[in-house]
């Protein structure tokens, strides 16, 4: 075979990855005929929801590993972008903290709505919605091109919009509409986005937006407010006929009954309470049938099963189409034979043996391409290498799109637990160690000492009172346990202004340090590493990461291999945060 023609595929092998990972970043070509019926069924559901936003319905997608669940969600997003009246789209990964079920749902929905749809960061789904609101509120319903907003027209629009919406939807939240309009004002946009995602604003931002302080609100009240905002958002989506498709993926990571129950609550709310929102839930087929359908409230599982879609394997022609499309997407590939360097007959013989999942098709194509490219088979990639690669990719994806990965206490906690349990500290977190401010409680055994209690407090609260309360909990612990260790961890995107601002809180911070407490501020690089570790654990549980097994066939990386990598590699790359934590655990002999 012509070696120079093969060089292109040596430089760019289009079959090295078979995992979509995230529909927002879908880069792989689509073969529309694969699971076409499923897609059509889902799209009909979306169309019905567009026509009748109050329709109580949900979608359930079942497919085993590599069957294309996430890819299908990407197809919904792509199709929507091509429509004149697109639907809105949200992709939601598993929640970590069942106590914040509705706040998590609200935050993830909003983060998706704020996500850029095109090259311009300004072109977001939320902006599209806000534009419609302004057009409706502007005098004589101007066109977008003629819409000019000045302070005086803004006030008029605000008044008109409030009147129109409250007349049409008496239950709509006035504060929601008020903040939504503030989004259009550049200097208030960040605060508006924070409020809309359910954050507790600091005093200055709350004053800027003229909204009530959320600090004194209880957990139940904050949850209630999140529901109100989502419901109000549903009214707007109804008005502008833009149903929101809320896709829940990677649900194998819901480990406890509380997590599963929280998913049920979200689905139930989206189906029964919020208008114009269509939950679409993806599960592995066997896990759904053997576990999740029995763990969810029957009211929820029956709603989901009403519109159940099972993904199917590829016919030989579809398998060939995957190969052809991936080859065509190789930059610089101008081969006249669309399947070059493969032999069509040979591929067909392989694909004729059964209904292969898209991932299996890609794996088989990759194996054959490697044979064509090299006389000697490539040395197998070890689980360590593969996980290093996956971690690096995840980290880079987060860094590229950091706004989408909002400060998340639950994800940080997951990363911390993985590190504490499987990294150098090798501590077992206490089963009942979590409480309001304490994320992980454990004990360390230091040479020559008895067991020493340790707590980790993760904080992403923007309001000084909440931060102060968290620090106060740390101080109380250190007072009770003079030999104990306490580590306060904060995503540095949540500001902690130095004195004279936050005077009382800064005093508490000093006091905490004075008692021997350690403080770790995660800069963007470190925070991204922690979020990458948490998301990588989802991917491993999802069996999305594979290596060559016996006979060079792919096998999923096991969770044990993942934990071994945490021990050997990820946590031994001594970032400042890990150094601080290890120092806190090891060198505070009193």
């Amino acid at each position: 075979m012509d070696d120079t023609r093969l060089d292109l595929f040596r430089r760019h092998n289009p079959f090295t990855s078979s995992s979509v990972g995230d529909p927002w970043e879908a880069t792989y070509p689509d073969v529309p005929s694969i699971n076409e019926q499923v897609f059509r069924g889902l799209w009909q559901l979306i169309e019905q929801k567009t026509r009748n936003p109050a329709l109580n319905c949900a979608g359930l997608i079942l497919g085993e590993v590599g069957s294309g669940k996430t890819h299908l969600l990407g197809r919904i997003l792509t199709q929507s972008k091509q429509m004149r009246s697109p639907c809105a789209f949200a992709y939601i990964q598993p929640l970590e903290d069942p106590e914040q079920t509705y706040r998590y749902l609200l935050r993830e929905v909003m983060v998706n709505l704020f996500h850029p749809m095109a090259a311009s960061p300004q072109a977001t789904q939320f902006r599209r919605l806000v534009t419609k609101v302004f057009l409706e509120g502007s005098p004589d319903r101007q066109t977008l091109a003629r819409l000019r907003i000045t302070p005086s027209t803004f006030a008029a629009i605000q008044q008109r919009v409030m009147r129109l919406l409250r007349a049409a939807y008496p239950a709509i939240s006035g504060y929601f509409v008020h903040v939504l309009l503030q989004y259009a004002v550049l200097e208030r946009r960040t605060a508006a986005m924070q409020w809309l995602t359910g954050s507790v604003l600091d005093d200055a931002d709350a004053a800027l937006l003229q909204v009530p302080d959320r600090t004194p609100l209880s957990t139940a009240s904050l949850e209630e407010e999140a529901r109100d905002i989502l419901t109000s958002l549903g009214f707007l989506l109804t008005r502008y006929q833009q149903p929101l498709v809320v896709c829940f993926d990677r649900l194998e990571n819901l480990e406890t009954d509380e997590h599963i129950h929280a998913l049920g609550k979200m689905v139930e709310f989206l189906v029964d309470k919020a208008q114009a929102m269509l939950p679409v839930v993806c599960f592995r087929g066997m896990q759904w049938e053997e576990k999740f359908r029995y763990k969810l409230n029957q009211h929820v599982s029956s709603r989901l099963e009403t519109n159940k879609f099972e993904l199917r394997g590829c016919t030989p022609a579809q398998a060939l189409a995957i190969v052809r499309n991936r080859l065509a997407a190789v930059p610089g590939n101008e081969q006249t034979e669309p399947l070059f360097p493969f032999d069509q007959e040979e591929l067909l013989k392989t694909f004729h043996l059964g209904l292969y999942s898209p991932r299996r098709v890609i794996t088989l194509a990759n194996q054959r391409l490697r044979q064509l490219l090299d006389e000697e088979p490539l040395p197998p990639v070890s689980p360590l290498q593969k996980l290093q690669e996956a971690f690096a990719n995840q980290y880079q994806a987060i860094m590229r799109d950091f706004e989408r990965y909002q400060p998340d206490r639950g994800r940080l906690r997951r990363a911390l637990e993985l590190y504490v349990r499987y990294g150098p500290p090798q501590c077992v977190p206490a089963e009942n160690g979590q409480e309001k401010y304490i994320d992980v409680a454990t004990t360390v055994h230091l040479a020559g000492t008895t067991a020493v209690p340790v707590i980790f407090l993760i904080d992403v609260e923007p309001h000084h009172a909440a931060v102060g309360a968290c620090l106060a909990r740390g101080i109380a612990f250190l007072e009770e346990e003079p030999c104990g260790r306490a580590v306060y961890i904060r995503d540095a995107r949540c500001p902690f202004p130095p004195p004279p601002a936050w005077e009382a809180t800064n005093k508490k911070l000093q006091l905490f340090k004075g008692y021997g407490g350690r403080v770790v501020f995660l800069d963007s690089e470190q925070a991204a590493r922690w979020y990458a570790l948490a998301l990588l654990s989802y991917a491993v549980r999802e069996q999305d990461i594979t290596v060559a097994g016996p006979n060079n066939t792919p096998r999923p990386i096991t969770f044990e291999e993942f934990t071994a990598v945490i021990k050997q590699d990820i946590s031994t790359q001594k970032t400042q945060a890990f150094q601080e934590i290890e120092a806190a655990l090891a060198t505070m002999e009193l």
Binding site: L353, G354, L355
Partner: protein, 239 residues
């Protein structure tokens, strides 16, 4: 609550049949070989009469098992037509006498004679005589070999589908090791039928999470020619 025990009991009976390499066993044989847990669930002891045992077991047989009233005993076995039982036995014991054949089957005399006459009528089974005038049965030599093979293949596919429905209880993702347990076939036969079903896209195989399965369950799953492990399958029907 009790409904949850149903698959356990049916599965345990499948396990007993599979272990003994039989399609059917007497009620007493079944009862004696059930796992202790199932016997406890049903409050079964050896002191119970056959009628009592039958009464306790019958509600839990599901769709793949059936009670058969033979000439001398009552049996529980895989759901089969009388013709299937006869063909299988004649294939295994060519030249068997009709009387011997009847005694070894879990069929009443009336059902047996009716089914045998039908098979003789269609020529699938033929009857010849020994020198001492004793009748003996064997599969038709006039019937084309392919036809017999086809009938057998079709029977196997039907049995596979029946087991899929019975084990799956309406599920779409059915574990292969459970199907193997339900079908008391040698490994080669099971794999052969499965490959044939794969080849015409009647079934689709799925991977899954092997980390939550026992060694035995993994062993009873399916590994294809290049070593890929499959754990479950879905019946897709002919395309």
């Amino acid at each position: 609550m009790e409904q949850q025990h149903l698959p356990d009991i049916a599965q345990d009976i499948h396990r007993v049949l599979h272990k003994r390499g039989k399609d059917y066993l007497t009620i007493r044989q079944i009862s004696a070989s059930l796992s202790q847990r199932v016997r406890q669930q049903l409050s079964l002891t050896t002191r119970h009469s056959t009628a009592d045992m039958l009464k306790k077991l019958t509600p839990w047989l599901g769709e793949s098992l059936q009670v058969y009233h033979g000439p001398t005993s009552i049996y529980i076995g895989q759901k089969r037509s009388p013709a299937e039982f006869i063909l299988q036995k004649v294939q295994q014991h060519p030249r068997i006498s009709p009387k011997q054949l009847g005694l070894g089957l879990p069929l009443s005399k009336r059902n047996y004679i009716t089914a045998l006459n039908d098979l003789l009528g269609t020529g699938t089974v033929v009857c010849t005589f020994k020198d001492n005038h004793m009748p003996m049965l064997h599969l038709s030599s006039h019937a084309p070999v392919q036809g017999t093979a086809q009938a057998s293949t079709e029977d196997d596919r039907l049995a596979f589908h029946t087991a899929y429905n019975a084990v799956g209880h309406g599920r779409s993702f059915v574990r292969i090791h459970r199907l193997r347990d339900a079908l008391p076939w040698p490994r080669e036969r099971f794999d052969g039928v499965l490959r044939a079903l794969l080849a015409d896209y009647t079934v689709e195989l799925h991977g899954g999470d092997p980390s939550v399965m026992t060694e035995e369950e993994l062993h009873h799953s399916f590994t294809d020619a290049d070593g890929t492990l499959y754990i479950a399958l879905s019946w897709r029907g002919h395309r």
